[in-house]
Point group: C2
Chain length 444, copies 2
Amino acid sequence: MPGGLLTDLYELNMAVSYLRRGMTGPATFSLFARRLPPDRGFLIAAGLEDCLAFLEQFSFTADDLAWLSEAQGFADQDLAALRELRFTGEVWAVPEGTAVFAGEPLVEVTAPAAEAQLAETVLLNHVTVQTSIATKAARCVLAAAGAELVDFSFRRTQGTETGLAAARASAIAGFAATSNTEAARRYGLPAAGTMAHSFIEAFGSETKAFTAFAEDFPGKTTFLVDTYDTVEGVRTAIEVARTLSLPGPAAVRLDSGDLGALAVTARRMLDEAGLPGARIVASGGLDEYAIASLVARGAPIDAYGVGTKMGTSADAPYLDSAYKLTEFGGRPVMKLSEGKATLPGAKQVHRGPGGDLIALRGEPAPPGHQPLLVPVMRHGTRLHPPEQLATARQRCAHDLAWLPGPAQRLRSPTPVSVAISPALSALRQRLPSRLRPPGATALP
Amino acid sequence: MPGGLLTDLYELNMAVSYLRRGMTGPATFSLFARRLPPDRGFLIAAGLEDCLAFLEQFSFTADDLAWLSEAQGFADQDLAALRELRFTGEVWAVPEGTAVFAGEPLVEVTAPAAEAQLAETVLLNHVTVQTSIATKAARCVLAAAGAELVDFSFRRTQGTETGLAAARASAIAGFAATSNTEAARRYGLPAAGTMAHSFIEAFGSETKAFTAFAEDFPGKTTFLVDTYDTVEGVRTAIEVARTLSLPGPAAVRLDSGDLGALAVTARRMLDEAGLPGARIVASGGLDEYAIASLVARGAPIDAYGVGTKMGTSADAPYLDSAYKLTEFGGRPVMKLSEGKATLPGAKQVHRGPGGDLIALRGEPAPPGHQPLLVPVMRHGTRLHPPEQLATARQRCAHDLAWLPGPAQRLRSPTPVSVAISPALSALRQRLPSRLRPPGATALP
């Protein structure tokens, strides 16, 4: 799908105006989160790979152009210009899996204004949803304190395409596996899954269902034990394993009720049956808060299936993300709308021991600081092949370990401090007075 | 995309077990919302069209089967069975745009268990997200009290595919237009859009930007007036219209600040300039609550651009939806898991003057009642061509008008009463005692 119409009408209107006037000088747009959602002390950047794939193949099909002519009345000269249009610009970005904070550019696009403008909608979309989900998943990883996490979100993500993105984002964040088979295939992830309640009901009894399952999948004997009564279900799982001379059920899965109390009971029953290696998997409406509470209670749960609330980032289903013009034809620009002021110029973020520093792109890094944004595309072509998911996953694990405790907190966290470089502050003050904010601004 | 792997691994595990054992008798699964999300007095059913499209083309590609063999170790006999598998079942459903309540089946699938089971994930996904968004959009329509609504959500929906679905769902709910051009093309919707703040900044002044825009789009002169200062922006819009001898700006768009107060000021300025026909469009973080508050203040706003919060259903980003086995091989079944009990048997919902009645499918409708579920697919084939979007939209308008005031309330609504037929209650009691809930259940 070349995707020329995967945008908002106003982007097309503006692109046409720019093209008609030969306003093809370079424009820089900066994509960032204006603020962190409630109860977020950091974000895990994700979505860049889809952005680059989109930019690389961006063009208008003959059908797109026909619709613009017939339904929108675009003139022939405009259609001719759009027919030739490709993304020819440069992109700097924070690699996926990096921890970032409010105001920090995640992606910066420098291209002729029409090209950069037409990309706005899809770039915002990919980064907003994938960063939201990767962040939520990373919070589950922090809460699980070493227990394994499995993505169970596919049935309730907002769209099936987003289910694939959620499996990938949660893998970046540190999840061990996904139930989503298309995602497992596409991204090379471990697939996990056992049986549904309907399977027990179809066989009419847990004994029959567990026996059939163990026959069919001798290496995957995780039994779902809560269809009728969880304690009875655990007992049946143990009996079936004995009858079939299995080394034991590989695991029992608890999917309802008081998971903490049931896990204690199930653990005791399994241990008493001489099955200390049988694992306990818990699922059912879990999120980082529920996991943290189970961990705090010492629930003997080995793995958590985390679904809907992670896959929709339910308590923060979007970011206050923005894609803002910061430079046009070599001239820095900024927006002053109430509560939405922006920082001018192409930028870099330097990460150091005392926190992050947002600077103009050309500024040297302060001693001991590392730049977060790297060039990823020039002349519309990627500078590197798509990054391995494992690389982003390692980066995320590193950054989660680096995050100070107050930024990791699940409730009322304190993000790492983000400062503005003197040169960037000075540029802001040098802008014509009508482009200067009247007083203090929302941005750091 | 034939979609065989667009599912969870456990569906494939279960399908294989059913196929190996010749368990191909008809199974009925019922898709419903266990409860309404907070502050929801109704749901608007949506997503059926995508479900039917999925079922019609369901199959496994050679690549799917190769992955199941190599990565999952599926046996040759299982791969052979999956290779032949198509959806051959029957579907009953509530048409899109219908108002529904907790516990009411939205979709019922009757098919050999393997087929019905493999469809679970995608069917839940489509219905959950599209119903969530259509419901949120319908609440905006109720709040707007006749003002026009435009879908601005594409940049922050959870995925680009979901952006298209959100445009469609909001059109069903009664939105007048969308900014999303691919959705406008695909679904035949009016496209709407003007300019971004970046456009003003690129030209360096509102006068230049408005003038250029009016030259390029003489029929679409909606000017965005809040880039620097909203009142000055309205003044500039009026001046540019005068200078160019336009009949006036078609509209001014307010995107930040106190929208209610600014709308009053803008209205007065436009009226004093002799432009009573110039419209006022408001946008910026709006949802049904903000719209209701602006309407209650009497803000003279003609149209609202509604984005992120509608397109993600931000305060209720998912439904507690379920797809549950209710009948297997002619035998009614039910699940008893704590808080997740189900109603047995294939069902119908009858809507009458006193409320809704969930009944077994064969039961006659009580006098004055209309059935909500209709057959839509038999032998894996649709019974009718895809429904026109306008039909679903009319149905939704009818149902919104029908909803009693307490169900329409935005906060703490009271849904319409939903009863269980005597025959369904009796069936529940007749089930073997181990399949009966121990006491009161969560379902109506």
